[in-house]
């Protein structure tokens, strides 16, 4: 057990700290980093890339900083920005999912055209994967593209397209080979959200806000070269990025920040003559959550160590999405309980705390438990890939078995 990063990393950490101290006054408020980043957020992003604190390992020819991948340096950057409570680089689906996909599977021309403006916040992307009939069973998607005059003509509907309203572009899974098997008939297309035939309708959720949209395609015409990978290979192209999304949802610094906010809330919130934290039952729940956050923090360090040794994350990694999303939800639940009757204030009510953020989080985090692979799908993955338990018999096998029995 050696938790020191080593002297060269201590020097690096000092550099990061010095940068943050000297420049944090230029950082945008976190709201400015929303779907369509403010000009301040875009400037901040450019400054971070220039110093290697965003897009660090993206090659320079594509607009990145061009450093060699170094997990510990990336970790130090994340730690130091979190510690200083200064927003790091932009984090959106274009940067976290589309750029890595292009780097891995895009053509040279696609890389040169799209990566730099995406990194710099000049082009915003949305993701067109899920459909009303294709959630956990994503490969069941029905949105189709047939070929007409050398163009894809897309018809169908996507759902959960966050940032579709603000997005300039979409990366989208469509069925291009109707006769191919389920996973083999899908292509990964990229096109402008200004293309005629696209309609975006806000999808209001239980939070009262429309964090997502439904996106409808009616005869949307897309040139045939706007595809990543080959026709029919979209499933494999998309899977390269789903891994990135799952990684994104398990962030130990984010859990730690939520916990610290909860501790502060419980120390400030008055309850009778004392504070919420003086209530032994609430305090007991707080310490229990603190222990869980600690366990996830060290689990994260273990995953990091495994990566440094070039070993797969294994079970430690498979459980991150399930456990982190649930834990984040429980942190919000305790905050609401600690506020008692005031915990239900919302919609800018008088006496509302933190702009209703705890209730919003509590509800939105339930969405995160469901999204990006539901908790139940996660458990299937843990059981089948992690524990090597027998797979669910396919529906077709069961029908055959039934026939045999008859």
């Amino acid at each position: 057990m050696d938790l020191n990063y080593g002297p060269e990393y201590d020097v690096f950490r000092k550099q990061v700290r010095a940068f943050i101290e000297a420049h944090s006054h230029l950082a945008p408020p976190s709201a400015d980093r929303a779907a369509q980043p403010s000009s301040k957020a875009v400037e901040w992003q450019k400054l971070l890339i220039e110093h290697g604190y965003a897009a660090r390992t993206i090659p320079q020819e594509y607009g990145g900083y061009g450093a060699e991948p170094d997990i510990l340096q990336s970790r130090i950057i994340a730690e130091e920005f979190a510690r200083a409570r200064v927003p790091g680089g932009l984090s959106n689906q274009g940067i976290s999912m589309f750029v890595p996909t292009l780097l891995e599977l895009g053509t040279e021309e696609q890389k040169r055209r799209w990566i730099e403006p995406t990194l710099k916040g000049d082009v915003v992307w949305c993701q067109g994967y899920s459909e009303p009939g294709a959630g956990s069973d994503l490969a069941n998607l029905k949105t189709s593209a047939h070929i007409e005059n050398g163009e894809f003509v897309i018809n169908g509907q996507k759902i959960w397209t966050s940032t579709a309203k603000q997005a300039d572009m979409i990366f989208c899974l469509v069925r291009t080979e109707p006769d191919a098997p389920k996973h083999g008939g899908i292509s990964y297309l990229i096109f402008s959200m200004d293309t005629p035939g696209i309609e975006v309708r806000p999808l209001k959720t239980m939070t009262g806000h429309a964090e997502f949209n439904e996106t409808f395609f009616t005869d949307v015409r897309v040139p045939m070269h706007q595809i990543v990978g080959q026709r029919g290979q979209g499933w494999f192209v998309a899977n390269a990025t789903l891994g990135h999304e799952r990684g994104m949802l398990g962030d130990p610094d984010a859990l730690e920040n939520r916990l610290q906010a909860l501790i502060a809330l419980m120390q400030e919130e008055r309850l009778g003559q004392g504070r919420a934290i003086d209530n032994p039952v609430l305090r007991d729940r707080l310490v229990a959550l603190q222990a869980e956050v600690a366990a996830m923090k060290y689990n994260g360090m273990r995953i990091l160590s495994n990566s440094l040794r070039g070993e797969p994350g294994g079970m430690a990694k498979l459980i991150v999405k399930l456990q982190s999303c649930e834990l984040a939800h429980q942190i919000s639940a305790l905050a609401i309980d600690a506020m008692g009757e005031l915990g239900i204030l919302y919609h800018n009510s008088p006496r509302e705390r933190d702009g209703g953020a705890w209730q919003w989080n509590y509800m939105f985090q339930l969405g995160l438990i469901i999204g990006g692979g539901t908790a139940q799908i996660q458990k299937n993955i843990i059981a089948e890939r992690g524990l090597e338990m027998p797979r669910e018999p396919k529906t077709a096998d069961m029908a055959r078995q039934k026939q045999g029995a008859d």
Binding site: A295, R302, L304, A316, K379
Partner: protein
């Protein structure tokens, strides 16, 4: 940066694991559990041959001078094998107490004997955590009076180290006059605990350090109990997964049913981060002193909750068979039950964790 076990620690783990697989199969555990004194000389001897007895004894006293993380690696294997041997008190707490608070004479007398396996010392500090049944020990003029419940590694101890109500430690021989030692019977027939009644018993005090060593013993004990549960829980998860992969009902392996699969996945998902938490807590005991007590509390209380869930869930995955004596699954269930209660149940430990962070108004 390397968060994990060193190569030496992995070798230690593998050696102890092999040793216990040979010396302590379930059939032997059963034999031991039937006896009044369940502790196994055969298993103890096999472990002593590996040097386990002297792990925490400093080198100048004939031991190996190893760390609590090394001891936690062993504890995990003991839990995995539900090994009926003394360890927590006699090979972890007693050497730490003597090392940190013993005088030169006490160290010179006891530590080499602990290291060689010649002597075993039981430890009773439970009243510094919670007082039950009005127990408690007072000391005056070198004599002890009162009762200490829960002397750990009770049977076969040559001496006991006992905390008085002022959190000062005292050492006395098992045969000291004025000491009555009464075995207690717990659900866990792989460990031995007892009650010590003092009626003017003569005892040697250890250093008067304001309770510092007792606090260290609580931290170490909690980490070791957490590690024991980690191993016992690992075994219970493996057994559940194996069973679900063999047992058929409705013409299918029960492990292919999502209801069963998800029970196993939930166990694994809760279990996995515990490993990292226990490792860190053990590491912190020696290397990160300002975090050691808090993270020991976290490890103890969190594993208590997780492995209670694992113990019942694994039993349920085994269906009716899990409930029988035939499979012997209950030895692990009970071992986990013991680990949860001893040296503070999760509520008591979390209250202590809150106090450590200044979250509790002074009572």
């Amino acid at each position: 940066m390397d968060f994990g076990l060193s190569q030496d620690q992995q070798m230690l783990r593998d050696a102890v694991s092999r040793c216990l697989a040979d010396s302590s199969p379930l059939s032997h555990v059963r034999e031991c559990a039937e006896r009044d004194n369940p502790l196994s000389d055969q298993v103890l001897q096999a472990l002593n041959d590996l040097g386990v007895a002297g792990m925490l004894v400093p080198e100048e006293h004939g031991g190996l001078g190893m760390t609590l993380l090394d001891a936690a690696v062993v504890a995990e294997q003991l839990g995995y094998a539900v090994a009926p041997v003394p360890f927590l008190a006699s090979q972890v707490l007693a050497p730490i107490a003597l090392r940190d608070a013993g005088n030169e004479e006490q160290k010179a007398h006891w530590l080499p004997k602990i290291a060689s396996g010649e002597a075993r010392i039981g430890v009773a500090i439970s009243e510094t955590i919670e007082v039950r049944d009005g127990a408690g020990v007072s000391s005056a003029a070198g004599k002890l009076n009162g009762t200490a419940l829960y002397a750990l590694d009770f049977e076969g101890a040559d001496a006991y180290i006992v905390a008085d109500s002022g959190s000062r430690l005292h050492l006395l021989g098992a045969k000291a006059s004025g000491l009555e030692a009464i075995a207690l019977t717990t659900i866990d027939r792989t460990r031995s605990v007892g009650e010590l009644r003092f009626d003017g018993a003569e005892a040697e005090p250890l250093a008067d350090d304001g309770g510092a060593t007792v606090a260290r013993l609580r931290d170490a004990g909690r980490v070791i109990l957490a590690a024991d549960s980690l191993g016992a829980g690992q075994a219970m998860i493996e057994k559940a997964v194996d069973y679900a992969g063999q047992r058929e009902q409705f013409g299918r392996l029960i492990g292919s049913f999502q209801a069963v699969k998800h029970m196993c996945a939930e166990m694994a998902a809760q279990h996995e981060p515990c490993r990292s938490l226990v490792w860190y807590a053990a590491h912190a005991f020696d290397a990160v002193p300002n975090e050691a007590s808090l993270v020991a509390c976290h490890a103890k209380s969190h594993t208590a909750e997780v492995y209670r869930f694992v113990a019942r869930t694994s039993t349920e995955v085994h269906g009716g068979m899990g409930f029988t004596d035939l499979l012997g699954l209950h030895y692990w269930f009970k071992r986990i039950g013991f680990d949860r209660q001893v040296l503070g149940g999760p509520e008591a430990v979390r209250a202590e964790a809150a106090a450590l962070q200044g979250w509790t108004k002074a009572a």
